[in-house]
Symmetry: D3
Subunit: 338 residues, 6 copies
């Protein structure tokens, strides 16, 4: 049992590989990466930035599937071991709250969270510009489209796995209408998932170069004895475009707009062929985790090069001790921004 | 009495000039424009985009005052006739809801509405980028800063003067972090002015050139027998920058995300010296109106060239009949956008 | 009679004012400028960049009329003296060559030329981007839309007033889809006004700053004993946008892709209130001339500030001697570019 | 024999590989790709976007060769099997129509067509900006430079392999002076290859993301029983630059500005190492085909990563049935645009 | 005699007007502004950003003269009263240090200082991009071109009127190759005006909006009992371009890279017609001063709208007390930057 | 012994491989490239653009080490054979000239030269924007920070290995504050390494495409019998970013602002996986050489893909004869500019 406590369930069948001998990496890659390659299903060219959960003793997920028309859509996938995935051939079919069919147009970068016994999804939807779509299912067969969280322009919405002080909590990154050369992480609150307010800024980009251009929430935060563990992406602006790396932070458990610790350094950056080369070179983009509260093991699912799905591993002690010992807060991170 | 009915109070002392003989203008300028010129108070170089209301038989307003440091702040002003204004020498001093002093940093383009017996202000505030600030007063001496309405980036927030279906209604224009070369009008809803949702797109920019780049809500909508009367600004992109003109629309009374009619043409555009030349050439920017429900007279307050405050007049019959007879809806304006 | 010979007709009623006493200007403004001001007809806010011709002892023209929806359209106008114009209330109604109605969408910056006893117009039309529209009339009551001259993107097309070597000659400025920060003058040839080829580059922008950003043909060239006299606009890029000035060139009579002389300096630049201030500050844009072959008098019609129509005067000796004595050719101007 | 008929000659020695067992690809890659690698001849670093034809029982082609000075030039190449190519060490030497030497400066992306017993080339040439150069040969030893087709800015010109209604037909893509973030396919007509007119817009970019930024004609259209078969490229704008994929369309045989069918999806996109990585990552750019009218086999030559020449295969039935069954027309594609 | 002491000579014939009655302005305009209007000499359209000095009991200056070709050049001008100027018809003719003729190409925004009994000029010259040219004269008839101060890109060089610690001191603003949307003031040192080093950053732009985009040194600093008095320009970025205002600072006498005080507010901003409208709207650009050490009177010469030369007045007590009482230092201003 | 004479020492242990049989390459890659890969030391993710020298019979160098926070810093490294390097775990610790600790912030792209018995380093440092930092050591254990060479913005500073005409000579590339889409090589002179002047432009970018966007000095020039041998980088602007190649020039021995010869073609361009793919695709960036005056052997150290350190070889005869026989000077290269 780890000294740092992950709050949650035991997950004995979590995908896992021990850290390679001699490695000092904080997060180490699955040796058989990528776990999903080019053209995994008939309709989709690339399945990558995607979100998974334990489900009935196995695993389930919502996957970003870029079709051959270039448009991303959401598919359900299932797996026994979390590594070999069977993706449904058809995209999710939505009903709105009145029971009418709903066509989401494009949909990408889903995040998935179990909350109050239901499964909620947040993704990037079109609403006269990109913003956050919200939906719910109880069985991964019937899906209900809820109200959009915000007006445009927004991306990278992540819902916390439980209410805090009676309120749902949503991380997001205000964006612009294009490829957005800036971006901080904000948090918004809601009593009912319909009306949102009491917005606060959580973390800023800048200062260290790997996250100098923008940052965005990655996986659903994991509750730990040391705070909410947030994996996020940071973006470096090079002379040939953007590079997306992975960082981590600990947020205050009761007031998650306050950053307790935050990694000065990335903990994973594009280095492997499947990360530096593909549809979009230089992307490692975390969207979800699995974790085993008993052992502290964490499996991170991340999109690679906007082409592949990949997995990396860490454990609670390694990661959280690293965050605390290598923290570097930017101005405003600690404070509650008005 | 006019055939088109404005819903509201009699306002016998409304500033007024009849339409000049021979003029076919839908909206005609006050003959002594501008009513506020350069350096009107010691601290401020320019007072322009501002919002006024009848108050205790006279008039009161919240004024955008650009200081000599270039930063805009909000001042209270008072007037007996709505034309000669005495602006307070000091900016509004805010308390937050806990009674602590609150410093808003920059603050611009206020809108002011009487609602449930209080006076609410919406303006553009800094929140890691521009977004909508919200505040309230009952006496124009004590001001309380409420929660920000949205996360960034947003401008041109306008609150309806009554609840609809039990909910507050807020128009706004999602923006970007700079001078925003695009922009549509959205509407958001709230039961408590703290949590906002059920967002809908109201109107799009485009098609006719005077509003080809972007549009934004102007004055607080006036309830009429024909729908909500909304004055808004539209922006034309020329080879030497933007030109801001004034247009008008009628929104459905019970479902204001639906546009009933909308002027194909601007109804006022920069033509006068004080509109085409100044700190920012080519701006007529409506922020508020006064109206007399008995006669249908409407006085429009608009900023000119980001330098001056000016007034123009119209009456309910002239304006609303013009809107209905010269309407041109863009795709999506009529529909309820998901 | 002037020593430099303008080839063409006597035009005794040409608008005219002598050069002011003491002035050394090459081109001097009409003392009652502008001749058309704001809102000249009910539908149009601004009438400016426009083209005129002598017609049945009086004058006629095709006028750019920017409507209150911001969209430019073409109107016919008539004048007895060339200064006071009666503009038709309705835009030109086109038939295509099969006799069907044709709606041109937007239409701006017309040039008008008498050629083979007919009147041809070239203007900027929409064809999946701006390019040159072409039309013809014999009576200014019936107008026929001909084939577009080019694929996009093009602006400032000017047709020569006679065939050269059996071919029609068209000047134009290849552009981009926006406000085009570059631009040279090219010439294209046609036997039938339907099929164009044998394109050559005539003149380049650059070097002297008043024409450093781009240049474009202005008025229909005047045949003279010294070559084709071309008035053109040159654009200076300042830190606050573009400034449009007027220059002049002499092109070889038989090979008009060859520049004989070209003014190093502008001959008119925005200086007057109606030129430096208006809808677009800083524009003097020549679109047509009237000239009297007997006296050598030339009246130049130019748009001012994208708002007004203005007139300036010069005479053949003054202008052409100036061009020849103050010429500065850029690399490639003299040569026939492949 | 295929049910869909390709109009043309038998070509028994066409390069060919059957579709891999189990593959459902519409277009499958040659197993030994790329067929031309880095530094294929002494002068050139990269030979890629190139055009080939059957010639005297063997094969011949015009190749884009990027020299070590970075400048592209055109070389003749010859092959017995269409896969192993011998490229001439010297660039094509041009004469103009008067027999003088002509130096084309840079020259890239050639297309080659047999027409009226001669071989015509269209490529991107410099004419004060990029536009379409045109040349002809009868023996691939003597080359004559003809008139430029258009004034700038233009790229991706493709000549039809026969006259239609007595006129030559040229596809092209109006561009700007840089890397052009937009682009549709137009068609122009000529009786003599010297004078061009009757321009029409054929197809627009947009809607599906793989062709959301721009599109351009690829190989010379193949006449078929179902219409002109056009392979074209579509460009997706990602946060790290452009990705060029291959699509296909069927144009009306007698009125080729009318699109009958058009693939909703790309049929080949950069996936292989030699496509996603090289001088310019993420490019598959079709420039020519060989086809055998008897069997319906089609070999597609495409540039990869602006570095390599590669080949892919399809057959008439597979490709054309796919186009017809997966078609998605954009607004205006079907109509004849004025 | 003023309490704040200006170090220097008596200048009894300094141009002067008392502050208008009732005015609280820190700097008030000459009532007959502008003192130089359009087309002041035959060759030049506009004379504006220019530098003057007392000379032999009268006044002399170096004037920026924009010719009718749009290119700025430097002319000598002379005046008896500092208000009516006679500008030489020919530009300054330079010799290099070897006595050869030197043609400076364009030359703009000169500053002029008497130093060691000679007159030195610094201006913006072309050196493969804009940078600082340096020249010297003893009689305003013979001018010697010295070495360029820096490699590109630089503008707004201002030389101190005496050595400090044995070294010449030069203020400058590192720029870019275009219209430069940023800029701070740096200082460099030299023993011989040929070799420069020991560079330090003096002041940063930002924070207050009137100087939010960039700042640049204006007039030659005046030595005072309170420090070096520096007038500088600050630039506000609006949605329609830049606005140039005037501010002031006091630098440490012995270590002028250290800012003692600096005006939070502009002290003059474009308000008058000749400042907000002209060749470039919205510019007040200080280039030089005259001052009378006995009375403390200061006359400021500033360019207006890149078109006119204008004068404003202040006195030592008024200005310097204002600076000290309304100072707002930005981070780094006080420190010696490495 | 080579016919072209390299001036300098014998270096018998220079890393070396003969040109591969059959190769005609002017510069051939080390067969075991890259010599430094991902994560070479605990703190640094990537070590690449770096500078080496012979030192006490072995080799020493200053290495650009990009830390896991994305920020580059400088480390000392040592090697016995010039290929296997031991990099110090800690960054260089600086003292300023007063003996105080100095923290350089970021530091990248070092160049290292032995001069007057000391070792001088030039690199890109932050000084309110990037410019050239300068430092010195005698033992690679104690490092002294000297004055910055220039005010911003500058990069790619290279110091000559001996004084010329009594003066130190520094090559540099004036830049802008971002990724700089332009850039020429300039030279500046100094008697004392503190004060710099007599700036001249050496070489321009443009014309040939591989160096069409910008150029920058690479390794410290090698004195030869034919002039100073300068390896430099040239940048090609593609639709997906920049490509950095290597070229070479010969500068006049006594007047190095004069270019004698300059390669029309690159001599090495990104082709290998470790050059076209990595943190920044498409970079080969030379920073230093080793050479053996006896044999004429030259080993070039270059950064690859902003990720790896690689080595290539050439010899004096091969390289210098190639430069002289394949030279192509741009306008101004030969002349002394100014």
């Amino acid at each position: 049992m780890s000294k740092v406590q992950l709050i949650g369930n035991e997950l004995t069948n979590i995908p896992w590989q021990d850290r390679p001998a001699g490695s000092k990496e904080i997060m180490w890659r699955h040796s058989e990466n990528p776990i999903i390659g080019w053209n995994p299903i008939e309709k989709a060219a690339r399945i990558y930035n995607s979100a998974v959960l334990p489900y009935k003793g196995e695993f389930i997920g919502i996957f970003r599937a870029d079709y051959r028309d270039g448009i991303p859509r959401l598919h359900v996938g299932r797996s026994k071991d979390g590594l070999k995935w069977v993706i449904e051939e058809e995209a999710i079919k939505w009903k709105d709250t009145k029971g009418n069919d709903y066509d989401p147009g494009y949909a990408y970068d889903p995040r998935l969270v179990e909350l109050d016994g239901k499964y909620y999804m947040v993704w990037c939807t079109d609403f006269g510009g990109p913003t956050l779509g919200l939906g719910v299912t109880e069985d991964f067969e019937h899906f209900t489209r809820l109200e959009n969280v915000f007006i445009p322009f927004n991306r990278n919405g992540v819902l916390f796995p439980r209410k805090i002080d009676g309120k749902y909590m949503m991380l997001s990154r205000p964006s612009d209408s294009g490829h957005t050369p800036f971006g901080d992480i904000f948090i918004s609150q809601s009593y009912d998932l319909e009306y949102w307010g009491h917005h606060r800024r959580v973390m800023t980009s800048g200062c260290t170069w790997w996250q100098g251009k923008k940052i965005g929430a990655g996986a659903v935060p994991i509750e730990t004895s040391e705070g909410w563990l947030l994996l996020y992406h940071g973006v470096n602006g090079t002379c040939n475009g953007y590079v997306y790396s992975i960082g981590a932070a600990l947020l205050d458990l009761e007031n998650p707009s306050k950053v307790l610790y935050r990694t000065r350094d990335y903990i994973l950056t594009p280095e492997k062929d499947y990360e530096v080369s593909g549809f979009v070179p230089g992307v490692t983009f975390p969207c979800s985790t699995l974790y085993d509260a008993k052992t502290g093991r964490i499996a991170v699912y991340y999109g690679a090069a906007d082409t592949y799905l990949a997995v990396a591993y860490t454990d609670a002690d390694t990661l959280i001790n690293h965050i605390k010992e290598n923290s570097f807060l930017l101005p405003g991170d600690e404070e509650e921004y008005r």
